[in-house]
Symmetry: C2
Subunit: 243 residues, 2 copies
């Protein structure tokens, strides 16, 4: 178990690291007491499935620590990752009892879970939760649509640059907006997982990394740690405007 995912035991909501960003972010104290009593934690080892497409979904929940992917597999083995699930992201869909996607832990993952039926009742009774769910769903929809542009129209090089900039943005969350200078990041995914996310092969991903490295756009400290000496220059390779 890595350093980012300390063991969580009987933690209550008031000390929860995702309290202000998760589905419960806008709940008041009374509502949190109710959720606190309903919740339970589950852990998954890196590589383990959290949910299979087609399975009954008994629970919904939030990622407390670790990273998971939402993905779908074709019969012949082709795989597409539809999203990354990072701490505070929500898993599951109230109102549907069968999963439509596979969810896989790619690092050790801890979830804050609720039984689906009780959570659905809670959503129906608690505007703070249903409103927050809506907000999160619309954010995810925006992210999915941005990714559709990447998958449908960007070149391999633009895909990699866009992906790296997304990691930069996420690891800069909360800090002052960074659009210039250098930045150090750690990739949360293997080459293969990145390929599945961007609709490429792992060889193409590897080649594009090598090319960016030779050009000095990125500096690699090991396989996973990357320094971007000039964030603006990399942004210019994404094919997107910065708005």
């Amino acid at each position: 178990m890595d350093l980012q995912t300390p063991l969580i035991k009987d933690r209550n909501c008031s000390s929860c690291p995702i309290r202000h960003r998760a589905v419960c972010a806008t709940c008041d104290d009374d509502e949190i007491v109710t959720l606190d009593a309903m919740k339970y934690y589950r852990s998954f080892d890196a590589g383990q499935p959290i949910m299979w497409a087609g399975d009954r979904m008994a629970f919904v929940g939030s990622v407390v620590s670790g990273t998971a992917t939402i993905e779908r597999l074709m019969e012949d083995g082709r795989k597409q990752t539809m999203g990354l699930l990072l701490p505070s992201d929500f898993i599951g869909r109230p109102g549907r009892d069968t999963a439509t996607y596979d969810v896989t832990a790619i690092t050790d993952v801890t979830l804050c879970c609720f039984r689906r039926d009780s959570f659905e009742k809670m959503v129906a009774q608690t505007p703070h939760i249903s409103q927050r769910m809506l907000e999160m769903a619309l954010d995810e929809l925006d992210a999915a649509r941005d990714w559709m542009l990447l998958l449908g129209r960007k070149t391999a090089r633009e895909k990699i640059a866009t992906f790296l900039m997304m990691i930069v943005r996420r690891s800069t969350e909360g800090e002052a907006v960074l659009t210039t200078g250098s930045k150090q990041i750690t990739l949360p995914l293997t080459r293969e997982a990145m390929a599945d996310y961007m609709g490429l092969t792992l060889e193409t991903v590897s080649r594009q990394f090598s090319k960016l490295r030779k050009e000095g756009m990125i500096v690699m400290d090991g396989k996973r740690d990357i320094t971007i000496p000039d964030v603006e220059a990399l942004q210019a390779e994404t094919g997107s405007d910065l708005s």
Copy 2:
């Protein structure tokens, strides 16, 4: 103005053709009276922009008749369509005042609009609406993710077959589920618009249609009307299981 989009004048909600499927689907009579007083209709000619990315969104609304696309343009002209908006689909995002995508009418379109600020108040006060919004947002998220698999992993042939099956499904909505036999459909898009939706070029779309035609998978009556003699056979070309 084509036959599917009759002029709408001072219609009230009770006779609205999308009353049972739109964002107002689960509203009770009192709520409908309120919405009825707030709403206004707007029409757009085929080809007209309904909304530009970056613009202030003054209104939100539902498609009453016609078809529109959600799309994004890159600086160099590459375009990706993220979704089709058909009658009962919702345009706009409460809680955000700037559009993130272009929305374009591809046939003549009539919208049932609300001023954004009043609609946001209504959402906050009306669980029926916020719950329905959530449901619709989650459905769109599922659709977007399905399309990500198509964009990232499917071949041109699979993309076309999947697209055709989507049209079959939509034009069969409400009827008995059709998974066998023959079916007649009308394409709502030009070759170019289909290409932008599927991440292809218009030439590739045209070639794939020709190939399917020569193989007898489809029969074309003009450019836009297509008969699919064997729906199951076409389904088998989509690369997806039928679940």
